[in-house]
């Protein structure tokens, strides 16, 4: 498994030979030689993420967990949007019994790709549903099974943030960081990322080895490992159920990403359409995940409309305009909405939605409201944070785009959200709610 992963890592055409050599060595069990070769290569190309990644894997093989942690940590710092290094860090931390750190790393891994979050939450709901049926049987309740409430699963409306993690990540960075210094720094870095964002699709496409990262865990190696390692290590290795039913989640067509890297601005458009199948989380066999698949087709247009290239100046401009009162009113409504949500005050929360509100998935407003109520009241706690709101007002319509940080006892997720609001009787209310860009 490990070598499989290594082999897959070694895709980059320019250095194909080097990667092939290393993976061949590793495959033959010559870990030391492989490591030497890796170091040799890195002395010439110190930033090469593929080789650094490989080095981390090889160090792990050799039980040099501290060094491996250092390598992967540095990778996560340099490439915040790559899930793999986070995941490997988690494996290493878990092997050391540092579960808090492992958990944090895994949550970051998931956060690199918002569609994971949705899939994860959807899966959680499926499991929750099944669990409640099981409890009903256990306790002979028979009651709640009667109404198999329509799924609360979240449909992915757009996929902008889900596949080309790299691109979007970069974009949001720009949008959100008004500091002019940050902007110039990005483009420079922007030359490297594509390399890595390829890594997952390549893996997934090349061989049926969706296990690329957990594969690493196979290595926390021979019996010598201490007790903790012995118990922890086996965990990720088998990943049996998931392996088959979850088809490679990241088949983001490689070319698209490359294009994007070359021309960062217009890229998002083609990407969504092509990668349509990508975000489908297809959570287990269970419900055959009816929800997410078709989603992307619908949503992209509205999102596309406004994000102009350099977002930074925007807020200033808006602020400069005299009509801040409307803008303030809109933002106050958004904040109130978030507050009601976080307070799990569903009545108040629903009050922020206009009568014209268009529930997603074409469901009725009643069904949507019930679903929201179930979803919000069902949580132990909810925390919602709104950051960097951008407001665009056009007569009685406003469009607010912001970064939303959502945390519940089950999940924390960060995403971009757009609320389309209308003014009814002097009051701004939500007409449409779109996740992603």
């Amino acid at each position: 498994m490990l070598y499989c992963a290594l082999a897959l890592v070694a895709w980059a055409p320019a250095h194909a030979d080097d990667y092939a050599d290393v993976s061949k060595l590793a495959k033959a069990g010559k870990v030391v030689e492989a490591l030497n070769k890796t170091n040799e290569y890195l002395s010439k190309h110190p930033t090469d993420p593929q080789m650094r990644f490989m080095k981390g894997v090889l160090l792990t093989e050799q039980n040099k967990s501290d060094e491996a942690i250092a390598v992967f940590t540095k990778l996560t710092e340099d490439y915040k949007d790559l899930p793999e290094p986070y995941n490997n860090l988690a494996v290493l931390y878990a092997a050391n019994g540092q579960y808090d750190k492992a958990r944090a790393a895994l949550e970051k891994a998931i956060r690199t790709n918002p569609s994971y979050q949705t899939a994860y939450e959807n899966l959680g709901d499926i499991y929750g549903k099944m669990a409640s049926q099981a409890y009903d049987k256990a306790l002979a309740l028979g009651s709640s099974t009667a109404a198999p409430a329509k799924s609360k699963l979240t449909m992915l409306r757009t996929f902008s943030t889900s596949t080309g993690g790299k691109i979007v990540g970069a974009e949001t960075m720009v949008a959100q960081a008004p500091a002019p210094a940050a902007a110039p720094a990005r483009p420079a870095a922007g030359t490297q990322p594509p390399l890595i964002s390829q890594l997952p699709p390549q893996n997934a496409a090349q061989a049926n080895a969706p296990q690329r990262i957990p594969a690493l865990s196979v290595s926390p190696p021979p019996a010598t490992a201490p007790k903790v390692a012995a118990t922890v290590a086996p965990v990720p290795a088998p990943a049996p159920a998931a392996a088959k039913p979850l088809p490679a989640p990241v088949p983001a067509p490689a070319p698209a990403a490359v294009k994007v890297a070359a021309a960062p601005v217009p890229a998002p458009l083609p990407a969504p359409v092509k990668a349509a199948p990508a975000p489908a989380p297809a959570p287990v066999k269970v419900a055959a995940a009816p929800a997410p698949a078709p989603a992307p087709v619908v949503a992209p247009p509205p999102a596309k409309v406004e994000p102009p290239k350099p977002a930074k100046p925007e807020p200033e401009k808006v602020a400069a305009k005299p009509d801040t009162s409307e803008r303030d009113a809109v933002i106050a409504q958004v904040n109130g909405w978030a507050k009601a949500w976080a307070a799990q005050n569903v009545d108040s929360y629903l009050g922020y939605y206009s009568q014209q509100f268009e529930p997603p998935k074409g469901v009725s407003r009643k069904a949507w409201a019930d679903e929201r109520r179930a979803r919000i009241e069902g949580k132990g706690r909810i925390h919602v944070e709104i950051a960097a709101p951008e407001v665009k007002i056009d007569g009685n319509t406003a469009r607010v785009t912001f970064r939303q940080t959502y945390e519940s006892d089950r999940l924390s997720a960060r995403s971009r959200k757009t609320l389309v609001m209308v003014k009814n009787g002097g009051k701004w209310q939500i007409k449409q709610e779109v996740s992603g860009n």
Partner: protein, 408 residues
């Protein structure tokens, strides 16, 4: 989506420790050491599956635990505890579960508490080390092929086989007992009696109401000692479960001992009516062979003293072996009882032998030894044999006969 798979496993692992600890206390290591039983072709025992599931969880293998839980409820669709644990395992894929049935909906707290107790009892089930023997089975009669011991404290029934090398544990079962526990005193007190009893019948399920399941094995409660103590009530049976549930909570019966229908069928085929003893108590101990032999010698010595006194016609000494509380089944006092049992009172030279004895120790705080034996008296060419049952109870430092009857 490999991350998800990994995450799920990882979370489950971290949380499981907690569940296990809260459930099993110190039993975890014991469970781990337990030898893996051969998975024969027979239908997997649900309790073994349960244990396997918990072992999987302890070793952070949520996937395997899930598969086993799925299989468990498929094989035993009425095993409510199985459904409960499966519910927990489903949730563990995405969130911490800190307690058995932690996320179960409100409104069924009593049932949930019952299932938790059942889980605790089942997971803590003890199987004694092979070298240890039940202290209650001092000596079985040669033709008694089996004996049952009910450990009320642990809701466990042990089935022993009588071999030439002593008792051998064949199997053990989860049982339910009276709602208010043990020490039955009177009719309707919802308690299970404590004592040494025999299975005295087989009632097929088809002739019984649904609640008895596949059948019943009645006990001879109240026995002589119970009667002397004024304990009343009747109809204490070992029986099965109604069709809608695989098992019942640990404390849920009106005094009967309830096992699953599968177990009842097995027991029904195994036991011998009128011969197989069933010892019920809350102090079931497992001791070394040496300890058991010592206890047996002591018990045999009691009966031997009694035999000598009968043979020597030493009435004063004989009478001193009987308790002041003694009463016969016909409510006679000691003098009347001894008079009645004096064979050919005029004869001077008699020989008394005791054969085919069995000795059972009541598995309770109260120390009682029940001995069955054949007493043969030979006077010249006259012979007289009678099967006797004696209840010896410890009074202070001495053992006294508190009840005695002749078994026809």
């Amino acid at each position: 989506m490999s991350h998800l798979a990994f995450l799920r496993k990882w979370r489950a692992g971290s949380v499981l420790g907690v569940v296990l600890l809260s459930l099993m206390g110190g039993e975890l290591s014991y469970a781990a050491k337990k030898p893996v039983r051969a998975q024969a072709a027979r239908k997997a025992n649900p309790e073994e599956l349960l244990n396997d599931i918990y072992k999987d969880l302890a070793s952070h293998d949520l996937g395997s635990a899930q598969r086993k839980a799925d299989a468990l409820v498929e094989a035993y669709p009425n095993f409510r505890l199985g459904h409960l644990i499966r519910g927990d395992i489903l949730l563990m894929h995405t969130r911490p579960v800190t307690n058995l049935g932690a996320m179960a909906p409100p409104g069924a707290e009593t049932r949930l508490a019952d299932l938790r107790r059942e889980a605790a009892v089942r997971l803590q089930a003890e199987r004694p080390a092979p070298t240890l023997l039940p202290r209650a089975l001092l000596q079985m009669r040669k033709d008694q092929k089996h004996a049952l011991i009910v450990d009320a404290k642990h809701s466990r029934l042990y089935l022993y086989e009588n071999t030439n090398d002593g008792p051998r544990l064949l199997q053990d079962f989860y049982v339910s007992q009276g709602k208010l526990g043990i020490n039955k005193l009177k009719e309707g007190d919802m308690r299970t009696p404590v004592g040494v009893y025999y299975l005295i019948g087989r009632l097929p399920g088809v002739k019984l109401p649904d609640m008895y399941g596949k059948g019943a094995l009645p006990l001879d409660y109240p026995n002589d000692w119970d009667k002397i103590n004024g304990r009343s009530g009747s109809g204490i049976w070992v029986h099965g479960t109604p069709p809608e549930t695989f098992s019942r909570p640990p404390l849920s019966t009106d005094g009967c001992v309830v096992v699953s229908n599968d177990d009842l069928n097995f027991l029904t085929r195994t036991v011998e009516i009128g011969k197989t003893p069933i010892l019920i108590g809350d102090q079931v101990e497992f001791v070394s062979k040496e300890q058991l032999d010592k206890d047996l010698r002591q018990a045999a010595e009691l009966v031997e003293t009694w035999r000598r006194d009968v043979e020597n016609r030493d009435d004063a000494s004989l009478k001193s072996l009987y308790s002041a509380r003694f009463k016969s089944a016909a409510d006679e006092d000691i003098n009347a009882w001894l008079d009645k049992n004096r064979y050919l009172p005029g004869a001077k030279k008699i020989t008394v032998t005791v054969s085919d004895p069995s000795f059972f120790r009541q598995p309770s705080q109260e120390e009682v030894i029940v001995s069955n034996f054949t007493q043969q008296i030979v006077i010249g060419k006259f012979r007289h044999a009678v099967r006797k049952k004696q209840y010896w109870a410890k009074e202070g430092k001495n053992w006294k006969i508190v009840a005695e009857s002749n078994v026809s």
